[in-house]
Symmetry: C2
């Protein structure tokens, strides 16, 4: 799937930090024709030292490419999208890897790029940053959200096939707003909790002793607090309302836990903790059923889009997307016992 | 240090679950004469199948032993302590591994056991339980809190030397109330946050999608929510007031973070996150200075006790404790730039 009949797929990565650099290295290792670009001259030099084509001018890096991954900081995405769209052909598929999706999706629609921009978010990361920390395996096997739009189905299929083939990604199709609602609880609020725990330790009169006795619970619970503060702040601000809503939900459970503790109510406390254990157990032990779905490749896409979004909303994912003989065939996986309606 | 002149040290472990079982297996692997006991007949059978002496009667397991580790659930410790003390000689050193210390320390003092009971807490664990999950390496190199009392200095020294020799423990000397204040933030509150995050996911209408997109931040931040709810509840209830106090401190930082987010104040949000990053960075990169301190072995112990408690409160630990020629010599380590007063 990754090679055209006549040539290798030509891909560019704009913003070659931790995520972009890892995307680029894996694409190159897979044998694709890759180019990179980064606003930082030192990063461009480092990329060239690793044998990567990395011109000084953004437009040169993306010209003539089939697919461009936008991997820069969230606040720069809209402007980068404009420049990259202007410097590429209409057939060039564009995507990003940002941790919030509604803002950039709206920007793309406003720029008339709904046919070829597919908002994306691979669920991987690290408490590091920069090309020096990049590694080709970082995204292997990741859950990778892609947001299909009613006019962008061809671009979605092409990109889904690419990330499945290159990264063995589990593609999770979702609308951009649904992604942001889910990511608020599955990623953004955990960053706030980690920041609050680590911040409280930093302020504590017992700080040194707390760090000396940091159990696994503290070390795990503060890991992402080690990430770059500006990057985390951008992520939270890019999804502000949904993060505050989900935070309120977490605080409601925390209130109940604190009240049961204050009351010395062992039964209530145990019962509340058992709720959380159910979610945690489901995280480790999820079983999936596998199915195939076929749609006419050239239809109005309404049925295909509805299938994809319901799959993602149900906790499911795709591991194959093939277009052949006028039909598109998906291999999908749904968690047991969830069902498609 | 672990062998007496005339015989191997004889140790018993009462309560052979995850922690007790791991303690027992490591003690046995080191060549000590060990016995175990557990209230559960099936656990006793399993221990015997592993070649461990494990009589049906508690008193038989502990009779004639030099050291007894009490590793049962927190609510049972006081009663077990009474039985074990009655069944052992005055020279037998007693300790526990519970995650809160003030309650059991008070119970020991009330029973007149201050000379030979040393409250203990190795900072290790897992989201598992039971002898089947035990492994001899679980506690290797752990920070291991021991609480020396004014009358129990000889017992403290003996136990410190034992856990350093057998487990390569970093012994953190602290008073029982100070341990509980520190553990509230370094372990107990993180369990509440993990429970609240996992519980909110369990209640969410988006539960399946949230689990599908669980990023490292969610997975790390909920790990201890997978532990046994009753064990976690006992731990929290055993340190209730301090946990609620430290939780209030974490919530205050969380309030500030939420307010900066609500206000869209990127600078304030970044600054708050940077506070947490400082603590997290200190956790990974702490450097230590090493020193030796010597005290007369038979003095009134006031200076020795003050040194030990200040060492622990400053984030320091011991890696050696030797009694020779009428003096006790400690090798201590203090985080840079903390200083003893």
């Amino acid at each position: 799937m990754v090679g055209r009949a006549d040539a290798r797929v030509r891909v560019a990565v704009v913003g070659t930090g931790l995520i972009g650099g890892s995307v680029l290295l894996r694409l190159r290792d897979t044998g694709l024709d890759v180019a990179g670009w980064d606003p930082d001259p030192a990063t461009r030099r480092r990329a060239r030292e690793q044998g990567i084509l990395c011109p000084d001018v953004l437009e040169e890096a993306v010209a003539g490419r089939d697919v461009v991954f936008l991997c820069g900081p969230l606040p720069t995405l809209s402007e980068t999208l404009t420049r990259v769209a202007a410097a590429t052909e209409e057939r060039c598929v564009l995507t990003d890897v940002g941790s919030t999706k509604a803002q950039v999706a709206a920007a793309a629609t406003a720029q008339g790029l709904g046919r070829r921009f597919v908002p994306g978010h691979p669920m991987a990361g690290a408490d590091r940053a920069g090309l020096a920390s990049a590694e080709p395996a970082l995204l292997d096997g990741a859950a990778w959200v892609l947001c299909p739009g009613p006019n962008g189905m061809a671009a979605f299929r092409q990109l889904a096939a690419l990330v499945i083939d290159v990264f063995r990604a589990r593609v999770v199709p979702m609308s951009a707003p649904e992604h942001d609602a889910v990511a608020a609880l599955s990623s953004h609020v955990p960053h706030l909790l980690a920041g609050a725990l680590a911040g409280a330790a930093q302020r504590s009169a017992l700080r040194d002793a707390v760090l000396a006795l940091a159990a696994g619970s503290f070390s795990d619970g503060t890991r992402v607090a080690g990430g770059p503060p500006r990057r985390t702040a951008n992520m939270l601000l890019g999804n502000r309302d949904r993060v505050l809503t989900e935070l309120a939900g977490v605080r409601a459970v925390l209130d109940e836990l604190a009240e049961a503790l204050r009351a010395g109510d062992a039964a209530a406390l145990t019962s509340l903790l058992d709720e959380g254990r159910s979610a945690r157990a489901a995280l480790g032990e999820r079983a999936f059923t596998t199915h195939q779905r076929e749609f006419p490749a050239a239809a109005d896409h309404a049925g295909e889009l509805a299938y994809l979004r319901e799959l993602g909303a149900s906790g499911g994912h795709l591991t194959s997307c093939r277009v052949q003989g006028g039909a598109v065939t998906y291999t999908g996986h749904l968690p047991v016992p969830a069902r498609l309606g």
